[in-house]
Amino acid sequence: MRKILILIQKEFKQVLRDKMIVAIIFAVPILQMLILPWAIDLDVRHVSISIVDLDKSTYSRDLISLFSASESFNLYSYYDSYKDAIQDLQMNKVDVILTIPANFERNLIRDNGNQLSATANAINGVKAMLGTYYLNMIIKDFNQQIVLEWYPQIESSLSNSIDVRSSVWFNQEGDYKNFMVPAILVLLLTVVAGFLTALNIVKEKEIGTIEQINVTPIKKWQFIIGKMVPFWAISNIVFIVGLLIMVYLYGIPILGNVGLLLLYANVYILSILGLGLIISALAHTQQQAMFVNYFFVMILLLMSGLFTSIDSMPSWAQTISYSLPITYFIEASRAIIIKGAKFSEISNLLLILGIFVVIMNGLAILTYRKRS
């Protein structure tokens, strides 16, 4: 016991003395929590639009005012000719051009209809797609306004038509931050728990101190526990600091039980510590460990449902997603934080995470045995 304690003590001293590591452990997560949620904005707002008004009538001005009032659009420029507008689009300054043809108002009144032209810059495909979609919505609104204006008597028939209203649950404002912040927190936890542990052990290999440890009576499991405990503790600190930022800075309350969240986090940390151990057993240099870490970060980032919905992935990719522990922890933490899920509702996730703990650490023990 005294041996394990001195190992843990040594590890803490070394970690806290390495200013770079302290920065990585504490400052980087905090900075990431402060910056990333603002940058990773999946909502498309402020689609830049250029409007070419060849009509300059009351109706065309009404339509334009709808766009300038919309939060979705940012009226970037206003021209008399399409030629000028297309230049803006080519310079990537606008995403969509709306052209209101000459005699728009006259044709609308006379013919009961007219055509508008929309040109979208599809370099950013998402923006182009959503931009034209929003544009259609606004034009539809405009259309309805006119219809009501001219034929007030059909209001009743209009309101009889099917009216689809969506309501968003659990995240009423539809704020992407409520979705992203917990996920980023999970990512940070992964980096700290898994990869710092791996790097730390490989560092001892590289400088040769592990050779010295190997000739002492310390057993492998004692050494591993001596490494795991400090990083397990540090991971908890990082997670709690992250939660505080989430609650007090982003105002995202934890609707579920905080203790339950910490329970899930700790089971997850154990599985990721196992991953770190596997990496450390396989890598000989910190450089190798870094690249393996990088590989895993990319996979965990892109395949865990952190940014994209797993349901929309091809089925082989879904298989990969569902074989990553991070997927389940993200699901659990979102459920607890945003939905206020109770243990009984997500107990299967804990079971799955528990299985990962056994698999990861089992593999870690096997790789360590093989390597010695």
Binding site: I6, K13, G208, V215, T216, P217, K219
Partner: protein
């Protein structure tokens, strides 16, 4: 369980010697790093293990210190079998590797305390020995400095003192003085003599032939085999050489494994 033939005249020779090795072999694939070597090291002896780079010294030392298992042959260290009793061996030896092995980001005292505790030295004893150690090495003022900030010679002396801090039966030193200035080397050997006087068996590899003269007995490894063994005087006599250096040249000349 010890081999029957290891008991000679009613004396168990594995207990008699600090290190007993017979036909010890280690192969890595096709490469035979240690080829059928046999030797004994007496208790309390300073045994020099010489050889050119790549001769197999480090591999032999790693087998004897319980880091790797031999391919074949017999070896007992401090009376324990290198195949089955590696943990017991580890409890009874000290080891100073070729690479510097203390933690540079821990202080002198922290390193001593760490290794002392790992070898099961009790806290009170640990404190007392630390005090004596610092006094011997004249490191009182550096006690709380990071080891990384010390000059190499001091580090090596400290590493040696830490390796024998738990008073092992045998200490293995793998090229402990490489890169150290002559004065510090001399001081280092004073420390080795002190340890030897306390009854610790010293097993040391070195490249410096003048250091070989300080050993009670030396063995010379060439291409994984022991080419010669005996006291420095015996060897000089046998090969009609003026110093160990000439003996070394004479024998290592035939080496095929040259880096």
């Amino acid at each position: 369980m010890k081999h029957k033939e290891l008991i000679v005249d009613g004396v168990n020779i594995t207990d008699k010697y600090a290190i007993y090795a017979e036909n010890l072999t280690k192969k890595f694939g096709d490469f035979t790093a240690v080829n059928n070597i046999s030797f004994n090291v007496e208790k309390g002896e300073i045994f020099g293990f010489l050889g050119a780079n790549g001769a197999g010294k480090t591999t032999a030392m790693r087998i004897l210190s319980g880091l790797i298992k031999p391919t074949s042959g017999t070896a007992y260290v401090a009376g324990y079998d290198v195949y089955k009793e590696q943990e017991k061996i580890k409890n009874n030896i000290g080891y100073m590797s070729q690479k510097f092995s203390l933690y540079e980001d821990l202080t002198v005292v922290e390193n001593i305390k760490f290794y002392g505790t790992i070898y099961g030295v009790k806290p009170k004893e640990n404190k007392e020995r630390t005090f004596t150690l610092l006094e011997t090495l004249n490191l009182q003022n550096e006690a709380n400095k990071l080891v990384g900030s010390l000059p190499l010679g001091w580090k090596q002396k400290l590493a040696f003192s830490v390796a024998i801090f738990h008073i092992p039966k045998i200490v293995f030193l793998d090229e402990p003085t490489s890169g150290v200035d002559p004065i510090t080397r001399r001081q280092f050997w004073d420390l080795i003599y002190d340890a030897s006087n306390k009854g610790i068996t010293v097993f040391v590899t070195t490249h410096y032939m003048d250091e070989a003269e300080y050993c009670n007995r030396i063995s010379l490894m060439v291409d994984g085999k022991i080419a010669a063994m005996g006291s420095p005087a015996e060897l000089k006599n046998k090969y009609k050489a003026n110093d160990v250096n000439e003996v070394f040249y004479h024998l290592a000349h035939s080496a095929k494994r040259i880096e």
